[in-house]
């Protein structure tokens, strides 16, 4: 009887593994499509704005990440990854804060709180009036980021599933040395 239960468990695990693999293939295809779309939209933005206006000249060599990866432990020591916006830990503010891009009239008399500014949208590296294709590129890459975290979690789950499968097969061999 124990063998039958074990076999049922093995089948269920195998089914789940195959389902996960299919999901992984699907997500990988979508990630590739998004990244390709993003790069093509960047090329379209270069067509509209000029080749040298969308390139390495526009970003600083040192930059603060806008997005961080958060690893969390689910059941049975399985790691899940999630993409999270940094700067969620806002400093204690008393009064209303000004948006980072307000046009300051006249010389600034009061020193602005320099502790930590709200992270600036990288879209503004290329100017304020950017063409639609640049915004589309940003959206594609952002989708790709989310997908990348999902894919990492899925791959973890698949590896864990495979090790579970191997463990169960070993147990089955021990229970039924002739039948396995």
């Amino acid at each position: 009887m124990a063998a039958l239960d074990l076999r049922a468990e093995l089948d269920a695990l195998l089914l789940q593994l195959l389902g996960d693999l299919e999901e992984l293939e699907g997500k990988r295809a979508v990630l590739n499509a998004r990244v390709e779309e993003g790069w093509l939209s960047l090329a379209k933005a270069r067509y509209a704005m000029g080749t040298k206006s969308v390139g390495p000249l526009q970003y600083a060599s040192h930059m603060e990440p806008q997005v961080c990866l958060q690893a969390s432990e689910a059941q049975e020591g399985l790691q899940k990854f999630k993409v999270v916006r940094s700067g969620v830990h806002a400093p204690e503010e008393v009064g209303p804060r000004e948006a980072a891009l307000r046009r300051r009239k006249g010389p600034t008399k009061t020193p602005e709180p320099q502790s930590s500014e709200a992270p600036r949208d990288p879209l503004n590296w290329f100017g304020i009036l950017v063409p639609h294709s640049l915004r589309q590129a940003q959206a594609s890459f952002w989708d790709g980021l989310q997908l990348a975290a999902d894919i990492a979690s899925l791959q973890n789950r698949i590896d864990w599933g495979r090790s579970q499968l191997r463990g169960l097969q070993e147990k089955l061999k021990q229970l039924e040395p002739g039948a396995a």
Binding site: E36, W39, L40, A43, K44, R46, Y47, A48, G50, T51, K52, S53, G55, L57, Q58, Y59, A60, S61, A99, L101, R102, R103, R104, K105, G106, P107, T108, N124, W125, G127, I128, L129, V130, P131, H132, S133
Partner: protein
């Protein structure tokens, strides 16, 4: 101005007009584009370009060939031709050619200031500046803190000086202000160029004024389109529109109030020239507004060559050459990204 340009034009400018018409004849044809589109790698593209008038312009490039290098070399080649025209020109053609370079100078100034914001080294940026817009005070641009600084210390000797009237302020140069500065400088430049052509009169005014009016209207539409969803207020937006062109003044007032693409389309529907352009946006080819405007610009520039004895041929040639460079860069990008579905979205010229 003396009427009868055909009697006096060739004395001073006949040689250069002949030269620029010869250059125009060497623009890439539809067959050349078909060959380029079939290339599999950038090296293939280089080999195909060698059979055209471009010749061995990429011969000195080290491997690997990138799209950026192709673009830089093409720009250098155009700059060489333009410098030849400028060095051999007499007044008033030399002033006209100087006006043409001002737009590139404005781009270079903004590139340098943005680079200063991002703490890039001046040498790095100077390498990427447009060669047509080179001026001697370029290295000093990045030390300016405010537009008045920029004007008084650096740009007062350059041809850009007269365009600074609306832009003088003590505001610090951050991203929003640099964008406003760029658009205001460009607006003043376009208005000054338009006045110059109009005062010159004759065939040059007949040819150049509609082209410049279209440029002003195009800028108004594109600024409006790109400002949806940004911090730019409607009043600020209205100050960036050039004050001439078909849209001036009623259309510009309506455009300043527009809040999305459909409202903008309604404004364009009042004008017989722009209604069909807006209708061509979207559709099956997925054309953007910038694409339809580039197509119209190419049409107008090709028509400029149908008349003789005017300076518009020089302007039209440089703009057509720029469109050709955009086409080649687009094809090169599609090839290098191996994404060939949109490779035929270039605009054929001849």
């Amino acid at each position: 101005m003396l009427e009868g340009a055909e009697l006096y034009f060739n004395v001073d400018h006949g040689y250069l007009e002949g030269l620029v018409r010869g250059c125009k004849a060497s623009l890439l044809t539809q067959q050349d584009y078909i060959n380029l589109v079939q290339c599999e790698t950038l090296e293939d593209l280089k080999i195909h370009l060698q059979t055209t008038d471009y010749g061995n312009f990429l011969a000195n490039q080290t491997n690997p060939l990138t799209v950026s290098k192709i673009d830089t070399e093409m720009r250098k080649r155009l700059c060489g031709e333009f410098e030849y025209f400028r060095n051999h020109s007499l007044e008033p053609l030399s002033t006209f050619l100087t006006y043409m370079t001002c737009s590139y100078m404005i781009d270079n100034v903004i590139l340098l200031m943005n680079g200063a914001l991002q703490k890039k080294s001046v040498k790095e940026i100077l390498g990427k500046c447009h060669p047509l817009g080179r001026f001697t005070e370029m290295e000093a641009v990045n030390i300016a803190e405010t537009p008045s600084d920029l004007f008084n210390a650096i740009l007062i000797e350059t041809p850009l000086a007269p365009f600074f009237q609306d832009c003088m302020s003590e505001n610090a140069l951050d991203e929003l202000n640099i964008e406003l500065l760029r658009n205001k400088l460009y607006k003043s430049y376009l208005e000054a160029f338009y006045k110059f052509c109009k005062n010159h009169g004759d065939v040059t005014a007949d040819v150049m004024c509609p082209i410049l009016e279209f440029e002003a209207d195009r800028r108004a539409f594109i600024i409006t389109l790109n400002s949806f969803g940004t911090e730019l207020s409607k009043e600020d937006r209205e100050t960036l529109y050039p004050t001439f062109g078909k849209l001036y003044p009623e259309g510009l007032r309506l455009l300043a109030q527009a809040e999305d693409f459909d409202q903008m389309k309604n404004v364009a529907d009042h004008y017989g020239v722009y209604k069909p352009l807006f209708e061509a946006v979207g559709g099956s080819g997925g054309k953007t507004l910038e694409d339809v405007f580039y197509e119209r610009e190419v049409q107008m520039n090709v028509l400029a060559f149908n008349r003789q004895f005017h300076y518009g041929v020089f302007y039209a040639y440089v703009k057509l050459k720029e469109q050709e460079m955009r086409n080649i860069v687009w094809i090169a990008e599609c090839i290098s990204q191996r994404h060939r579905t949109k490779i035929n979205s270039y605009i054929p010229i001849l």
